[in-house]
């Protein structure tokens, strides 16, 4: 039985409702049938009562005059042999004289004249006993003996106060049954018709309701492993509880996606912050002895009495130390508040500065800088960001490819400078995207892998945001920097 309850709603709703419709039709049908049977019997008794009164009155004079033939004609008159038999069609009429013998009957062969009622069968024995019961009998007497296929109705035949005998009408119950069966078939036909109309409607309605539910259940089942997609908007566009459930699900999915994105961002930021702290620590630890070493080497170089081999070695050491200093300086990004604001000339400078690289790789450069005369952003840092991103893009773009710059106030946020650099180079892989801003993460041959690290450090220290994504066949870097005190309250674009 449990399997029935475990069925999918797709089947359960139509099955249950079909079952309920069926049961309803059956119960209502059965009630109507029972009622129809009772009504039919009632109709038979009423009809019989009317007929019995008429016959009893008409037949009374024939009893008085012993006019058998006239009586026969009277009792024979309601008998139809040829027309279709109906339940209200009397089967036989019998006139019993006072001595309980048959005075006349509509069917003399089966119920012959003069025969004693008791000899006609068990039904008549019972009937005779009831007819001759002491006073108090309620007329008409309706008798439906058990195990009998007949129903009897009897009335006394009287002339003034004298009782002349009894009139007995007999109805065949076997005639009831075909009529009743007819009624059942009719009822069944109507029931099936109703079912034929209701079941498809019910299946359609059930599946309309079940399909979104099934869809929802499947998506909910996936939820632990991944964030599922929202439901298609036209799946169930109504506002009942089911519709509300789907809307709530959609809201939940969106919230989950935001949460997942935020978590990713946080993990990334925390990792980068940890790396920054680590590198800064290492850089400081290196810088102090390094400064001493450089001073020593410089002092040594000033002495004129040195062996030329030593001098050569000193210069080798000096170049090595300088390389260490440069690398450590690059790792240790230090932003200092600078008074000068970014202006149009800075952008022109950058444009000029990258031209040799652009020309060398035959890059088409798109330049769109909605730049007022001056923006309250630190000029040297922004210049470094721009140069890093643009050179990076020029290197990443295909030979003869396309690189574009868009710079301006961020849409919908006046206090935010937005820089978008795009190139048509190879897409970044998932793994690259995760480790993009870490130091020495470059996959490009010849790169030292510190350009984006430095850029990231500068942007972060300026309380801005940087993000990279693959978009429409291009790779896009977006930087948002706050202008002034207010921060750019945006998620990574």
């Amino acid at each position: 039985m449990r399997w029935l309850f475990n069925l999918s709603f797709r089947h359960k709703i139509p099955l249950w409702t079909s079952f309920l419709i069926g049961v309803s039709i059956f119960v209502v049908g059965a009630a109507l049938m029972t009622r129809a049977y009772d009504d039919m019997k009632h109709a038979v008794v009423i009809s019989a009562d009317n007929l019995a009164h008429t016959l009893a009155n008409t037949v009374a004079p024939t009893l008085l005059h012993d006019d058998v033939w006239r009586a026969f004609e009277i009792v024979r008159s309601p008998i139809r042999t040829e027309s279709a038999r109906t339940p209200v069609q009397v089967d036989a009429v019998v006139v019993l004289a006072r001595d309980n013998r048959v005075f006349v009957s509509s069917h003399p062969e089966a119920l012959p004249m003069l025969s004693e009622a008791a000899t006609l069968g068990a039904d008549w024995l019972l009937l005779r006993a009831q007819l001759n019961a002491p006073a108090g009998t309620r007329w008409p007497l309706v008798l439906e003996p058990d195990d009998s296929s007949y129903l009897y109705l009897a009335l006394p035949i009287t002339d003034k106060d004298a009782q002349l005998g009894h009139l007995v009408l007999r109805y065949a119950k076997s005639v009831f049954h075909p009529w009743f069966v007819d009624t059942i078939w009719q009822g069944l036909g109507i029931g099936l018709l109703v079912l034929a109309v209701l079941i498809p409607i019910n299946w359609y309605w059930g599946s309309r309701m079940a399909t979104p539910l099934v869809d929802l259940a499947q998506r909910m089942g996936l939820m632990l492993r991944t964030v599922p997609d929202p439901l298609p908007p036209d799946l169930y566009p109504y506002d009942d509880e089911l519709g509300q459930l789907f809307q709530a699900y959609d809201r939940m999915v969106l919230a989950l996606r935001d949460k997942a994105a935020l978590e990713n961002e946080m993990v990334k930021s925390e990792r980068l912050a940890a790396i920054g702290q680590l590198t800064a620590g290492i850089a400081h630890e290196i810088n102090n002895p390094l400064a001493g070493l450089i001073t020593v080497v410089d002092t040594l170089k000033l002495r004129g009495d040195l062996d030329p081999r030593v001098v050569r070695n000193l210069e080798l050491i000096d170049r090595g130390l300088m390389q260490i200093r440069d690398t450590v300086a690059a790792l240790l990004v230090q932003t200092r508040v600078q008074a000068r604001h970014l202006n149009q000339h800075d952008l022109d400078d950058i444009h000029t500065l990258i031209q040799p690289q652009v020309g060398k790789r035959r890059i088409r450069l798109g330049w769109s800088a909605a730049m007022p005369a001056e923006l309250p952003a630190p000029a040297s840092l922004v210049r470094q960001i721009l140069i890093n991103l643009l050179l990076n893009a020029v290197q990443a773009a295909a030979e003869g490819g396309h690189v574009s710059l868009w710079l301006g106030r961020k849409e919908g946020s006046e206090s935010c400078l937005s820089i978008v650099v795009r190139n048509d180079g190879a897409h970044l892989s998932e793994d690259q995207l995760v480790h993009l801003f870490e130091p020495f993460a470059s996959t490009r041959a010849g790169g030292h892998g510190l350009g984006l690290w430095v850029t990231y450090q500068i942007v972060t220290q300026l309380e801005g945001r940087i993000a990279a994504r693959n978009d429409d066949g291009e790779v896009e870097f977006t930087v948002n920097l706050p202008l002034g005190e207010t921060s750019c309250n945006t998620a990574s674009a």
């Binding site: 033939w69 026969f72 024979r76 004249m113 003069l114």
Partner: protein, 297 residues
């Protein structure tokens, strides 16, 4: 006085009383009815269950034929029992009537024999004792002792007098020979009573049973003739003695001439008769003999 007479039928006393009283009534009414008859000049003919008198279209045709031939209006007066027609004759409400031979003898003082139909070429018929077709046991009247028996009419020869005479001839008393008897007031209904099983036996006019075998074979086929009586004079047409000689002869001429015209022969064909003859009262001596046996005059 016979036993039968002492133990009369329910109607017996009433019949006597009616005959007596109607004589008085007739005397009183005679003047009035004669006058009205002369004024209307209409002929009233009583039709009885002596033939299949419920064939209404046949009766209508016959009446029209008769009126055209006599050039006088004709009225057929149908009654369901012989007694009623006899009463109408006595009261001079009828000029003519087609009655059974037994009533003719009862009324012989007040009516004249007008004509006798010819059945199968002769003015004779019989009484048939019939039982149900499936009753193969009964071979004679005596086999029906104690049964339910249907008589046609207390004034019918073949449907009452003759079978009772047969019982009497067998040495039994017809009054208690049967378990139960009843009258159907028509020969045709005797056949129905026997066919339906209401009665085990019945006495019926041979002319009517034979005619039914043609007209309604399904009904007569459900019965079987067990015994045929001797021949009796066929139920006659009679005229009341008050009818003028001219009217009497005109009517007699008309009846005798029926078989001479095509229309008449067609009608006779429908009635399963061959024509009419004048006949003599001697035809009915056999009935008179039976009546005497029962103490009737």
């Amino acid at each position: 006085m016979s036993k039968d007479f002492v133990n009369p039928l329910p109607n017996r006393n009433r019949r006597r009383w009616l005959i007596d009283s109607s004589c008085l009534a007739a005397a009183g009414l005679i003047g009035l009815t004669r006058k009205s008859q002369a004024a209307a000049s209409k002929i009233r003919i009583g039709m009885t269950p002596a033939f299949l008198h419920d064939q209404h279209s046949l009766l209508g045709e016959w009446r029209a034929f008769m009126a055209a031939s006599l050039r006088r209006p004709v009225e057929f007066v149908q009654r369901d029992s012989y007694r009623e027609t006899m009463d109408l004759l006595r009261l001079e409400k009828l000029e003519f009537a087609w009655i059974c031979d037994y009533p003719f003898l009862h009324l012989k003082d007040s009516v004249r024999l007008l004509a006798v139909p010819l059945y199968q070429g002769r003015p004779h018929y019989r009484s048939y004792l019939i039982v149900r077709k499936d009753d193969t046991r009964t071979r004679s009247m005596t086999d029906l002792a104690g049964s339910v028996f249907a008589y046609a009419d207390p004034y019918s020869n073949t449907g009452y007098l003759s079978p009772r005479y047969e019982i009497r001839q067998a040495g039994r008393d017809p009054a208690n020979f049967f378990g139960k008897t009843f009258f159907t007031w028509s020969h045709r209904k005797v056949v129905e009573a026997v066919a339906s099983g209401l009665a085990q036996g019945g006495a019926v006019d041979s002319y009517i049973w034979d005619t039914l075998a043609h007209v309604e074979p399904a009904l007569s086929a459900r019965t079987r003739v067990v015994w045929r009586s001797p021949e009796y004079g066929f139920p006659p047409f009679v005229a009341h003695r008050s009818v003028t000689n001219a009217d009497f002869h005109q009517m007699q001429r008309h009846l005798l001439d029926t078989s001479r015209s095509d229309a008449g022969r067609r009608l006779l064909g429908l009635l399963y008769l061959d024509g009419f003859t004048t006949g003599t009262p001697a035809l009915y001596d056999g009935v008179a003999r039976m009546m005497r046996a029962f103490g009737e005059t």
